[in-house]
Symmetry: none
């Protein structure tokens, strides 16, 4: 019989609608992928009596209760205390957790205040789950056939903790396996994608296939249920092969891959370097590239040339060209890419100019109009694009299109090299 | 006495994590604004028995139950049927709703299928709520002091229906209002904050005060219930004044303010400009500043000087200094800030250097060690800091500390100017 779970999100800020409960969505997806049945999700505020009631109700109808939030040092963080009370267990000090909290404060050079000791208390007989990105440990505690897992509220703390400690335990407890693989696509819209694979989407049972459009890309999730990991993976691989045959280069990666990590990886393989010159994206492209560990081996520098003067001084774009063609033009994007490439002696240069809004648009050059160029060995490309959305969305969609152009260019060069070697 | 509500979201797709429940967030905000107490939100799948149980539970602890979803024409749309069963009311045909559904199909030129009649059925004695953007009407039904409102799942159907029909009824039924204000703080940890205002946090009733720690900052939410907006706002203002007296410059803004928007606003007021030189933050600071609409008036350029060569070429940091002190040092941060300021003739220059990890750390200079400097009129500041977390967190926390130092510096200059004027 499948494990039956219930999720309880704790926090008055949720009931006031101040934050969106992305943790509950994340955990729902994870439980579905593990083949664990989820029949109820409940949200309750920072109130001891009501929290106690919903935990009691959840334990009556589920084998596994996962709580989110309420593990911090303040007086309105009540989750562990309440779980312990419902289970009839005392709270005891977990010395390894206390040591980790003390080490955390030593590392950031701040005194540890008294109320942080509370975070090292866990229900007797429970297991503390280390927190990679914060001070509050999680808790896993079992009693009389029931299992309660308490996770911290910040997603950056909850996700690694779930991945490292909870998912392996759940997978071991759940019968059979459910495996998932996400294909990540760029440069194709969701509607066009759905038309291309309409027959594969229709009448699917196992594996299932679900498209999901997000900011500037589309994800395709393949999920297979089987008796063993090997059987589930084989079923996924068979469907993935069909999808790759249809969709080819639109698939840029799988699972947690990002476009920037793919691009940095391709450059590392080729032993090449990149420098970027940004105007309307304002540093977002450099920021995304430098989010990738090890980016320093391929990324030497970037400039954010917001003003015309900066475009001339830092990139050598002649002032008369800016005056004639306009700062937002394919000419200026091209000269920005070439300028940063030549001045840094990098293998590749990228130039971006456009209008991120909300001000600055005209009838001829509206908000969302963007030009971006790529300069490299034997390569000079420039593209015009129009993006919808607010300022941050236009910045994000622009960098997505730029990284995708660069990825496809690098991959087609690799393809050509491969063909030559084959011949 | 305030009306007490509960929200029930219906749909198996929610429990599978396939969609985010933005409707529940929207309704939570609306209820809070109307002064209606919301103590529980529940999510349940398309299952008659479990839906009946959660509606029964909700009616036992709330005066008003709002359901979302399950009003469509298909067999797994069960909400109205289940509400009618729980209240002991038969379903009856609502002729105006049937006429609207028939008119809808005539308008789109498609035959109306049999299962659409189901959408025109409502619990006896209830009121049908017209749907501006779809076929399924909503329902409002009262019995024995309890009130159930059923809304459709698609947000573009739910929101206008709530606005046109439900909100006016709720406003009429609700006594008083609830108002909230969020103070945003930087440069103080949650634990230290809680100790500083322990007496204000203890025994609070109305207004209530809730701290919430997020990435590199803390929020304090003040919530007041009162008979009128003016009375609630006065109660909030009184508590805010006490908090500002205690916490002073740690409070950088309110509600949706961001540090970067505050900094851009201060520069705009002063008519001054900024240029930034980043190493370990890799463009994130420039990106955050250029996220603010109108940043181009105060932000002229940024450079991401990842390599030592870039630090020398773009910023004039002498190579011997880098060799002697190390690229990650207070000397280099200071020279980066001065270099970008002088070369761009900006009023202010910021320099950042550090180790974002995961590689590159040593015993002497560990991952998370960061130096940042601020150069400006009569100002030369440099700070050393150690941040915990992964690469992206270290980047984020560094920019948060840099923006906070800059904000405090600008505000203290404004304060001095004010004093001079006063004298």
């Amino acid at each position: 019989m499948a494990l039956r779970a219930e999720i309880i999100s704790v926090g008055t800020e949720l009931l006031l609608g101040e934050i969106v409960d992305t943790n509950a969505v994340f955990l729902s997806q994870e439980l579905a992928a593990l083949g664990i049945e989820l029949y109820h999700r409940t949200t309750v505020g920072d109130n001891a009596r009501r929290l106690q009631e919903v935990i009691t109700t959840a334990l009556a109808r589920a084998d596994l209760v996962i709580t989110i939030g309420g593990l911090g040092p303040t007086a309105d963080d009540l989750t562990k205390e309440t779980v312990a009370a419902v289970l009839g267990l005392p709270l005891v000090l977990d010395r390894p957790s206390l040591a980790r909290i003390e080490a955390y404060f030593a590392r950031i050079g701040r005194p540890m205040t008294e109320n942080n000791y509370k975070q090292a208390l866990i229900p007797e007989g429970g297991e503390a789950l280390p927190n990679r990105n914060g001070t509050a440990p999680g808790v896993s505690v079992r009693k009389e056939g029931k299992w309660v897992v308490c996770l911290p509220g910040p997603p950056r703390e909850l996700r690694p903790m779930f991945h490292d400690y909870v998912r392996p335990q759940l997978a071991a407890a759940s019968r059979g396996v459910i495996r998932s693989r996400v294909l990540r696509l760029c440069g194709i819209g969701e509607s066009a994608l759905v038309e291309t694979i309409a027959d594969l989407l229709a009448n699917q049972t196992n594996p299932t296939l679900a498209p999901l459009a997000t900011e500037g890309e589309v994800r395709l999730r393949i999920t297979a249920a089987a008796a063993t990991v090997a059987a589930a993976d084989a079923a996924i691989a068979e469907l993935e092969q069909k999808l790759r045959f249809r969709l080819g280069p639109a698939i840029y990666g799988v699972d947690d891959d990002t476009l920037e990590a793919i691009v940095v990886g391709l450059l590392q393989q080729r032993g090449e370097t990149l420098a970027v010159a940004e105007s309307c994206t304002g540093g977002l492209l450099a920021n995304r590239i430098t989010d990738v560990p090890g980016a320093s081996a391929v990324f030497e520098r970037g400039v954010v040339a917001y003003s015309n003067r900066a475009k001339t001084e830092l990139l050598g774009v002649p002032a008369p060209v800016i005056q004639r063609a306009g700062a937002v033009s394919s000419e200026v994007a091209t000269l920005m890419a070439r300028g940063i490439r030549e001045r840094t002696e990098s293998d590749w240069g990228i130039g971006i100019t456009g209008i991120a809004g909300p001000g600055g648009g005209t009838a001829e050059k509206p908000v969302g109009l963007v030009y971006f160029a790529l300069a490299g060995p034997g390569t000079n490309l420039v593209r015009e694009a129009r993006f919808a959305g607010d300022r941050q969305q236009i910045k994000r969609r622009t960098t997505q299109a730029v990284l995708d152009l660069f990825r496809r260019t690098l991959q087609s060069l690799d393809g050509k090299m491969l063909s030559k070697t084959d011949a």
